[in-house]
């Protein structure tokens, strides 16, 4: 933020430095809280509907505005004008608080995301741990929403959502631990600085686990059993209408953006890019803009990957979902963590180039071995089932 503060004090000479710093931070917080939700939701609902439509061989929104660009605006107007119904026996204070807390839990993560070199709300020493901690607030909002709606199915769905979210927090933490071990710090700025080679290429296992677990944490397809309309009747937000439902919707898309932003920061190098750092300096305003552009490109690419996964895979059943989290992701993650820790301590791999190659080999080895074990187990159980059915096996 120092560059921006400097620019502001040059622009308005009467402003002293602490006041300029306060103004910059307040404006940053205001932009994140009031502008980011609207922009993120409008842009990414449009992108999602267009991409999924193309995957399904249709066109997508093309009526509202040229090429359907104003579709997000149309959705917003629709949700604003819907009647705000509250169930009769609903617990009013909790019912009204729940959507707000869901969005608060997501906006708090934006505070540690580095959008550009030097542009970060608070570069905490424990940034990575903070992200995991704040995820718990969203879980609480779901419980509050499910319980206060005075609806059995709502409460059942809330239980399932919380089970899913806390189950997938552990693979997230393990993947983050792998990154923190290699980067040597929990600070987001230092993790970006340690990525001369992006961690996607040195820790592909961590990338895979974090990517999948983030999709599960957000509650998107293929993990959206809990809120899909054809399943448990839209789940914990069935009794919400109008602006309160819009808040849950906003919270989900903001979580999508921040999850993709985290994948970018931790595995794709954040705002780093070709010319930044050597030709264009980090501390200049143009450097900041260039860094922000790189960050946006990478994040939009990751969001495209997530939308691609959504449009392609069928939904998981709740027991398959929890099995996948606990019985596959957690053990594989733990083995990967041990492998990474071992490689980092081996004395003959101490130069950074060799270490990266060693990490890559270890990660790929863990992936290959675990997938081979899983396929052998599946083949064995499938032949048992076939023998039971037809008296023959392949």
């Amino acid at each position: 933020m120092d560059t921006i503060v400097l620019w502001l004090t040059n622009l308005i000479p009467q402003m002293s430095e602490p006041v300029a710093r306060l103004v910059v931070h307040l404006v940053y917080a205001g932009v994140l809280s009031f502008v980011a939700p609207v922009v993120v939701v409008v842009a990414f609902t449009y992108m999602e509907r267009k991409v999924i439509a193309r995957i399904q061989d249709r066109v997508g929104p093309n009526r509202a505005g040229p090429l359907g660009v104003l579709q997000g605006l149309a959705d917003a107007v629709k949700m604003l004008t819907k009647e705000d119904i509250t169930p009769q026996n609903a617990d009013r204070p909790v019912y009204n608080l729940a959507p707000g807390i869901a969005v608060i839990g997501v906006i708090l993560i934006y505070a540690v995301l580095p959008f550009a070199p030097g542009v970060v709300g608070a570069d905490l020493n424990v940034g990575v741990l903070y992200i995991v901690a704040v995820g718990g607030i969203g879980t609480m909002a779901v419980l509050m929403a499910g319980w206060s709606s005075d609806n059995k199915y709502s409460m059942l769905s809330a239980f399932r959502v919380v089970a899913q979210m806390i189950s997938y927090e552990i693979p997230v933490i393990i993947a983050l631990l792998m990154v923190v071990l290699v980067a040597g710090s929990m600070q987001m700025g230092e993790i970006i600085a340690a990525q001369d080679v992006p961690f996607l290429f040195t820790l592909p296992l961590a990338f895979f686990i974090f990517f999948v677990a983030t999709i599960a944490e957000i509650g998107r397809s293929p993990f959206d059993l809990l809120e899909a309309e054809s399943e448990i009747v839209a789940g914990f937000h069935v009794e919400y209408s109008g602006m309160k439902f819009a808040f849950f919707f906003i919270g989900e898309y903001m979580h999508l953006f921040v999850g993709a932003g985290l994948v970018t920061t931790l595995f794709l190098g954040g705002w780093r890019g070709p010319l930044l750092g050597n030709v264009v300096s980090d501390a200049s305003l143009f450097g900041m803009l260039l860094g922000f552009v790189y960050f946006l490109i990478k994040t939009v690419f990751v969001i495209f990957l997530m939308i691609w996964v959504r449009g392609t895979l069928p939904r998981f059943r709740i027991d398959h979902l929890l099995d996948f989290g606990w019985k596959f992701l957690v053990p594989v993650g733990l083995f990967g963590l041990m492998a990474v820790a071992l490689i980092l301590k081996l004395p003959f791999l101490s130069s950074s180039g060799l270490q990266w190659v060693g990490l890559l080999v270890a990660n790929v080895a863990v992936i290959v071995i675990s997938l081979a074990l899983v396929s052998m187990a599946a083949r064995r159980s499938r032949s048992v089932a076939l023998r039971g059915v037809a008296g023959a096996d392949r």
């Binding site: 741990l129 901690a133 718990g136 879980t139 609480m140 806390i166």
Partner: protein
């Protein structure tokens, strides 16, 4: 007074209202779910205290463990009890006089302890010995946990592991 100190005092007052108000709400509220939520508010106040004391790591750990795990566990347990919303249940049982006396005595003891002990108030005094560096940077905490205090650390891990296995065994479907 410098601006930062005024802000510090204001923030401390807000956090005090949050923590003590939350604690009061736990006891006074007629609705059990609301009590659990007031408890979460109280925990959040303690997070603020840790941040004020410059113990960032502890603040985040408090958020992660108390609000992200323990509070959710309490909410689950509360949601699965009966008579949750019964507003006609009385808030006291027959032993309220003895309980009140015990609470009063505890209060007197705590008040005397808080008054008479010479608490170190400056942060330099607190961080003087390495064992007090709990609030310091994460790396120092890691060194202490795996160096000076490795045995309590390992014992705590074994305890958590036993609890995890116990929970799995209790919740497992019994095979007929």
């Amino acid at each position: 007074m410098p601006v930062y100190q005024i802000v510090h005092v204001i923030v401390f007052l807000i956090l005090t209202v949050m923590t003590l108000g939350g604690a009061l709400g736990v006891v006074v509220s007629r609705n059990l779910f609301h009590s659990a939520l007031f408890l979460v508010l109280s925990f959040a106040g303690v997070v603020g205290y840790y941040v004020l004391l410059d113990a960032g790591f502890l603040a985040v750990v408090q958020l992660l463990i108390y609000i992200g795990a323990i509070a959710i566990l309490i909410l689950f347990a509360v949601m699965l009890t009966r008579g949750l919303m019964d507003k006609r249940q009385s808030q006291t049982n027959q032993q309220w006089l003895i309980a009140g006396l015990a609470a009063l005595l505890t209060f007197i003891v705590l008040a005397v302890v808080l008054w008479q002990v010479d608490w170190p108030v400056a942060s330099e005094q607190v961080l003087a010995s390495p064992s007090m560096a709990i609030g310091a940077k994460g790396s120092q905490l890691g060194q202490d946990l795996l160096g000076t205090y490795v045995i309590p650390f390992e014992v705590a891990s074994v305890l958590l592991f036993v609890a995890l296995i116990g929970a799995v065994i209790l919740a497992r479907e019994t095979e007929s």
